[in-house]
Protein backbone atom coordinates (compact mmCIF):
# COMPACT_ATOMS: atom_id res chain seq x y z
CA UNK A 1 0.00 0.00 0.00
CA UNK A 2 1.40 3.47 -0.90
CA UNK A 3 2.51 5.63 2.06
CA UNK A 4 -0.23 8.20 1.50
CA UNK A 5 -2.96 5.53 1.53
CA UNK A 6 -1.41 4.02 4.64
CA UNK A 7 -1.47 7.37 6.41
CA UNK A 8 -5.06 8.02 5.36
CA UNK A 9 -6.11 4.55 6.52
CA UNK A 10 -4.35 5.12 9.87
CA UNK A 11 -6.22 8.42 10.26
CA UNK A 12 -9.56 6.76 9.44
CA UNK A 13 -8.87 3.95 11.94
CA UNK A 14 -8.37 6.63 14.61
CA UNK A 15 -11.66 8.18 13.57
CA UNK A 16 -13.56 11.32 12.68
CA UNK A 17 -15.43 13.86 14.77
CA UNK A 18 -19.22 14.32 14.70
CA UNK A 19 -19.17 17.48 12.57
CA UNK A 20 -21.19 18.68 9.60
CA UNK A 21 -18.24 17.98 7.25
CA UNK A 22 -16.14 15.45 9.14
CA UNK A 23 -13.76 14.75 6.23
CA UNK A 24 -12.85 18.39 5.55
CA UNK A 25 -9.81 18.51 7.84
CA UNK A 26 -8.51 15.20 6.47
CA UNK A 27 -8.97 16.39 2.89
CA UNK A 28 -6.91 19.51 3.64
CA UNK A 29 -4.21 17.49 5.35
CA UNK A 30 -3.91 15.04 2.47
CA UNK A 31 -4.28 17.70 -0.25
CA UNK A 32 -7.34 16.02 -1.70
CA UNK A 33 -11.11 16.44 -1.76
CA UNK A 34 -13.67 15.18 0.74
CA UNK A 35 -15.30 13.28 -2.13
CA UNK A 36 -12.02 11.48 -2.85
CA UNK A 37 -11.73 10.38 0.79
CA UNK A 38 -15.31 9.07 0.82
CA UNK A 39 -14.60 7.24 -2.47
CA UNK A 40 -11.50 5.68 -0.94
CA UNK A 41 -13.51 4.42 2.09
CA UNK A 42 -16.09 2.99 -0.32
CA UNK A 43 -13.32 1.16 -2.23
CA UNK A 44 -11.71 -0.27 0.93
CA UNK A 45 -15.12 -1.52 2.04
CA UNK A 46 -15.73 -3.12 -1.37
CA UNK A 47 -12.29 -4.75 -1.26
CA UNK A 48 -12.96 -6.11 2.22
CA UNK A 49 -10.02 -4.28 3.85
CA UNK A 50 -12.59 -2.60 6.07
CA UNK A 51 -15.69 -4.28 7.44
CA UNK A 52 -17.52 -1.06 8.32
CA UNK A 53 -17.12 2.69 8.62
CA UNK A 54 -19.11 4.30 11.38
CA UNK A 55 -19.69 4.64 15.10
CA UNK A 56 -18.37 1.94 17.45
CA UNK A 57 -21.02 1.72 20.14
CA UNK A 58 -20.51 0.48 23.69
CA UNK A 59 -23.86 -1.23 24.19
CA UNK A 60 -23.56 -1.32 27.98
CA UNK A 61 -22.90 2.42 28.21
CA UNK A 62 -25.87 2.95 25.85
CA UNK A 63 -28.02 1.11 28.40
CA UNK A 64 -28.00 -2.38 26.87
CA UNK A 65 -26.22 -5.66 27.72
CA UNK A 66 -23.62 -7.93 26.12
CA UNK A 67 -21.98 -11.28 26.82
CA UNK A 68 -19.47 -13.74 25.33
CA UNK A 69 -20.69 -17.29 24.75
CA UNK A 70 -18.92 -20.54 23.92
CA UNK A 71 -20.12 -23.91 22.67
CA UNK A 72 -18.52 -27.29 22.03
CA UNK A 73 -20.01 -28.18 18.64
CA UNK A 74 -19.57 -31.66 17.13
CA UNK A 75 -17.57 -31.14 13.87
CA UNK A 76 -20.18 -32.86 11.68
CA UNK A 77 -22.84 -30.40 12.89
CA UNK A 78 -20.65 -27.30 12.81
CA UNK A 79 -22.08 -25.60 9.70
CA UNK A 80 -25.70 -26.14 10.72
CA UNK A 81 -25.06 -24.84 14.24
CA UNK A 82 -23.15 -21.81 12.88
CA UNK A 83 -26.16 -21.01 10.67
CA UNK A 84 -28.61 -21.40 13.59
CA UNK A 85 -26.52 -19.12 15.81
CA UNK A 86 -25.94 -16.58 13.04
CA UNK A 87 -29.66 -16.22 12.35
CA UNK A 88 -30.13 -14.38 15.65
CA UNK A 89 -29.66 -10.63 15.03
CA UNK A 90 -28.42 -10.31 18.63
CA UNK A 91 -25.34 -12.38 17.71
CA UNK A 92 -22.77 -9.73 16.76
CA UNK A 93 -19.70 -11.84 16.00
CA UNK A 94 -19.10 -15.54 15.80
CA UNK A 95 -15.66 -17.14 15.49
CA UNK A 96 -14.55 -20.71 14.99
CA UNK A 97 -11.63 -21.31 17.35
CA UNK A 98 -9.18 -24.19 17.63
CA UNK A 99 -10.28 -25.64 20.98
CA UNK A 100 -12.71 -28.17 22.45
CA UNK A 101 -15.00 -25.15 22.85
CA UNK A 102 -14.86 -24.42 19.13
CA UNK A 103 -17.55 -21.76 18.64
CA UNK A 104 -17.31 -18.34 20.34
CA UNK A 105 -19.90 -15.63 19.83
CA UNK A 106 -20.93 -12.28 21.27
CA UNK A 107 -24.60 -11.69 22.13
CA UNK A 108 -25.73 -8.08 22.55
CA UNK A 109 -29.26 -6.87 23.27
CA UNK A 110 -31.20 -4.13 24.94
CA UNK A 111 -31.43 -6.03 28.22
CA UNK A 112 -29.88 -8.95 30.10
CA UNK A 113 -33.31 -10.64 29.99
CA UNK A 114 -33.25 -10.53 26.19
CA UNK A 115 -29.76 -12.09 26.18
CA UNK A 116 -31.01 -14.90 28.43
CA UNK A 117 -33.89 -15.51 25.99
CA UNK A 118 -31.50 -15.66 23.01
CA UNK A 119 -29.20 -18.11 24.83
CA UNK A 120 -32.16 -20.32 25.74
CA UNK A 121 -33.36 -20.23 22.13
CA UNK A 122 -29.91 -21.24 20.83
CA UNK A 123 -29.74 -24.11 23.34
CA UNK A 124 -33.22 -25.24 22.30
CA UNK A 125 -32.47 -24.99 18.56
CA UNK A 126 -29.11 -26.78 18.74
CA UNK A 127 -29.53 -29.10 21.73
CA UNK A 128 -26.09 -27.90 22.92
CA UNK A 129 -25.12 -26.19 26.16
CA UNK A 130 -24.07 -22.53 25.88
CA UNK A 131 -21.35 -21.30 28.23
CA UNK A 132 -22.26 -17.73 29.22
CA UNK A 133 -19.23 -15.61 30.18
CA UNK A 134 -20.40 -12.04 30.81
CA UNK A 135 -17.78 -9.36 31.25
CA UNK A 136 -17.17 -8.60 34.91
CA UNK A 137 -14.60 -5.91 34.31
CA UNK A 138 -12.84 -4.37 31.34
CA UNK A 139 -9.23 -3.26 31.38
CA UNK A 140 -9.52 -0.74 28.63
CA UNK A 141 -6.99 1.18 26.67
CA UNK A 142 -7.70 2.51 23.19
CA UNK A 143 -6.28 0.04 20.64
CA UNK A 144 -5.93 1.14 17.05
CA UNK A 145 -4.28 -1.39 14.74
CA UNK A 146 -1.43 -0.20 12.53
CA UNK A 147 -2.15 -0.53 8.82
CA UNK A 148 0.26 -2.70 6.74
Amino acid sequence: MPDRDRELLAALLRGIEPEERPFRALAERFGTSEEAIVARIRRWLAEGLLTRFGPLFDIEKLGGAVTLCAMAVPPERFEAVAAAVGRHPEVAHNYERAHHLNMWFVVAAESRARIDAVIRAIERETGLAVLDLPKEREYFLEFVPEPP
Binding site: L45, G48, F53, F57, E96, N102, L133
Partner: protein
Protein backbone atom coordinates in the same frame (compact mmCIF):
# COMPACT_ATOMS: atom_id res chain seq x y z
CA UNK B 1 -32.93 1.14 28.79
CA UNK B 2 -31.65 3.00 25.76
CA UNK B 3 -32.80 6.57 25.21
CA UNK B 4 -35.36 6.34 22.34
CA UNK B 5 -33.67 9.02 20.20
CA UNK B 6 -30.19 7.57 20.78
CA UNK B 7 -31.73 4.23 19.82
CA UNK B 8 -32.95 5.75 16.53
CA UNK B 9 -29.40 6.94 15.85
CA UNK B 10 -27.96 3.51 16.69
CA UNK B 11 -30.40 1.82 14.31
CA UNK B 12 -29.60 4.33 11.56
CA UNK B 13 -25.80 4.03 11.83
CA UNK B 14 -24.89 0.65 13.34
CA UNK B 15 -24.34 -0.95 9.93
CA UNK B 16 -22.22 2.05 8.96
CA UNK B 17 -22.39 5.78 8.47
CA UNK B 18 -23.83 6.93 5.12
CA UNK B 19 -20.85 7.32 2.75
CA UNK B 20 -21.25 10.99 1.98
CA UNK B 21 -19.24 14.15 2.61
CA UNK B 22 -22.02 15.19 5.02
CA UNK B 23 -22.87 11.84 6.63
CA UNK B 24 -24.65 13.32 9.64
CA UNK B 25 -26.98 15.29 7.34
CA UNK B 26 -27.97 11.98 5.75
CA UNK B 27 -28.51 10.51 9.25
CA UNK B 28 -30.71 13.51 10.12
CA UNK B 29 -32.78 12.94 6.98
CA UNK B 30 -33.14 9.23 7.72
CA UNK B 31 -34.22 9.74 11.33
CA UNK B 32 -36.22 12.97 11.03
CA UNK B 33 -34.04 14.61 13.70
CA UNK B 34 -32.35 17.94 13.06
CA UNK B 35 -28.69 18.00 12.04
CA UNK B 36 -27.91 19.95 15.23
CA UNK B 37 -29.57 17.30 17.40
CA UNK B 38 -27.82 14.43 15.58
CA UNK B 39 -24.42 16.08 16.10
CA UNK B 40 -25.19 17.00 19.73
CA UNK B 41 -26.31 13.46 20.53
CA UNK B 42 -23.24 11.91 18.93
CA UNK B 43 -21.01 14.33 20.89
CA UNK B 44 -22.84 13.44 24.12
CA UNK B 45 -22.56 9.69 23.41
CA UNK B 46 -18.85 10.17 22.71
CA UNK B 47 -18.41 12.07 25.99
CA UNK B 48 -19.99 9.31 28.09
CA UNK B 49 -18.29 6.49 26.22
CA UNK B 50 -21.43 5.10 24.55
CA UNK B 51 -19.68 5.85 21.24
CA UNK B 52 -16.02 4.85 21.48
CA UNK B 53 -15.06 6.38 18.18
CA UNK B 54 -16.47 7.00 14.73
CA UNK B 55 -13.99 5.21 12.56
CA UNK B 56 -13.02 2.63 10.01
CA UNK B 57 -13.36 -0.94 11.31
CA UNK B 58 -10.59 -3.07 9.80
CA UNK B 59 -10.73 -6.65 8.67
CA UNK B 60 -7.76 -7.72 10.81
CA UNK B 61 -6.80 -10.63 8.58
CA UNK B 62 -6.79 -8.49 5.42
CA UNK B 63 -4.79 -5.84 7.25
CA UNK B 64 -2.00 -8.38 7.59
CA UNK B 65 -2.77 -9.37 11.18
CA UNK B 66 -3.29 -12.97 10.16
CA UNK B 67 -3.16 -14.53 13.59
CA UNK B 68 -5.66 -13.63 16.27
CA UNK B 69 -5.24 -15.46 19.53
CA UNK B 70 -7.66 -15.20 22.41
CA UNK B 71 -5.34 -15.78 25.37
CA UNK B 72 -7.11 -16.93 28.52
CA UNK B 73 -5.60 -17.00 32.00
CA UNK B 74 -6.44 -18.51 35.38
CA UNK B 75 -5.27 -15.68 37.62
CA UNK B 76 -5.32 -15.42 41.39
CA UNK B 77 -8.51 -13.49 42.27
CA UNK B 78 -6.54 -11.26 44.65
CA UNK B 79 -4.30 -10.06 41.81
CA UNK B 80 -6.47 -10.26 38.70
CA UNK B 81 -7.43 -6.57 38.64
CA UNK B 82 -3.87 -5.35 39.08
CA UNK B 83 -2.58 -7.73 36.40
CA UNK B 84 -5.55 -7.14 34.10
CA UNK B 85 -4.80 -3.41 34.07
CA UNK B 86 -1.15 -4.10 33.14
CA UNK B 87 -2.08 -6.58 30.41
CA UNK B 88 -4.78 -4.24 29.03
CA UNK B 89 -2.15 -1.50 28.70
CA UNK B 90 0.10 -3.62 26.41
CA UNK B 91 0.06 -2.22 22.89
CA UNK B 92 -0.60 -5.60 21.22
CA UNK B 93 -3.66 -6.40 23.38
CA UNK B 94 -6.89 -5.12 21.79
CA UNK B 95 -9.33 -6.23 24.50
CA UNK B 96 -8.77 -7.37 28.06
CA UNK B 97 -11.66 -8.56 30.21
CA UNK B 98 -12.30 -10.31 33.50
CA UNK B 99 -15.01 -12.97 33.14
CA UNK B 100 -16.40 -15.66 35.47
CA UNK B 101 -14.84 -19.11 35.68
CA UNK B 102 -17.20 -22.03 34.95
CA UNK B 103 -15.55 -25.01 36.64
CA UNK B 104 -14.89 -27.72 35.67
CA UNK B 105 -15.44 -26.75 32.01
CA UNK B 106 -13.74 -23.36 32.07
CA UNK B 107 -11.08 -22.41 34.64
CA UNK B 108 -9.98 -19.06 33.13
CA UNK B 109 -10.96 -15.64 34.51
CA UNK B 110 -8.89 -13.22 32.39
CA UNK B 111 -9.16 -12.80 28.60
CA UNK B 112 -6.65 -10.87 26.50
CA UNK B 113 -7.04 -10.67 22.72
CA UNK B 114 -3.65 -10.72 21.01
CA UNK B 115 -3.16 -9.85 17.33
CA UNK B 116 -0.07 -10.66 15.29
CA UNK B 117 1.21 -11.22 11.79
CA UNK B 118 1.83 -14.90 12.51
CA UNK B 119 1.19 -17.54 15.16
CA UNK B 120 4.87 -17.20 16.16
CA UNK B 121 4.40 -13.49 16.76
CA UNK B 122 1.28 -14.14 18.85
CA UNK B 123 3.20 -16.76 20.85
CA UNK B 124 5.99 -14.25 21.55
CA UNK B 125 3.42 -11.75 22.77
CA UNK B 126 1.68 -14.35 24.93
CA UNK B 127 5.09 -15.12 26.48
CA UNK B 128 5.39 -11.43 27.43
CA UNK B 129 2.02 -11.67 29.21
CA UNK B 130 3.09 -14.89 30.93
CA UNK B 131 6.19 -13.06 32.17
CA UNK B 132 4.02 -10.31 33.69
CA UNK B 133 1.79 -12.87 35.39
CA UNK B 134 4.52 -14.83 37.10
CA UNK B 135 3.22 -17.04 39.88
CA UNK B 136 -0.18 -15.32 40.04
CA UNK B 137 -1.27 -17.43 37.07
CA UNK B 138 -2.09 -21.14 37.50
CA UNK B 139 -2.51 -21.88 33.82
CA UNK B 140 -3.29 -20.39 30.45
CA UNK B 141 -4.31 -21.31 26.93
CA UNK B 142 -4.49 -19.55 23.55
CA UNK B 143 -7.52 -20.07 21.33
CA UNK B 144 -6.67 -19.19 17.73
CA UNK B 145 -9.41 -18.11 15.37
CA UNK B 146 -9.89 -20.55 12.52
CA UNK B 147 -12.65 -18.69 10.70
CA UNK B 148 -14.92 -15.69 11.06
CA UNK B 149 -18.46 -17.11 10.96
CA UNK B 150 -20.23 -13.78 11.47
CA UNK B 151 -19.03 -10.24 11.95
CA UNK B 152 -21.82 -7.71 11.75
CA UNK B 153 -20.84 -5.80 14.86
CA UNK B 154 -23.31 -5.32 17.63
CA UNK B 155 -26.77 -4.67 16.18
CA UNK B 156 -29.98 -3.72 17.85
CA UNK B 157 -32.94 -5.47 16.30
CA UNK B 158 -35.21 -2.95 14.55
CA UNK B 159 -38.75 -2.83 15.89
CA UNK B 160 -37.88 -4.61 19.09
CA UNK B 161 -39.75 -3.03 21.97
CA UNK B 162 -37.04 -2.01 24.43
CA UNK B 163 -39.48 -2.12 27.35
CA UNK B 164 -40.23 -5.77 26.61
CA UNK B 165 -38.15 -7.95 28.89
CA UNK B 166 -38.24 -11.13 26.82
Amino acid sequence: MIDPRDRQLVLATQAGLPLDVRPFHRVAEATGLSVAEVLARFRAMRARGAVRRIAAVPHHVRLGLRANGMSVWDVDDARVDELGARVGALDFVSHCYRRPRRPPVWPYNLFAMVHGRSVTEVEEKVAVIAGLMGEACRGHDVLYSVRVLKKTGIRLAAGEDPSCSD
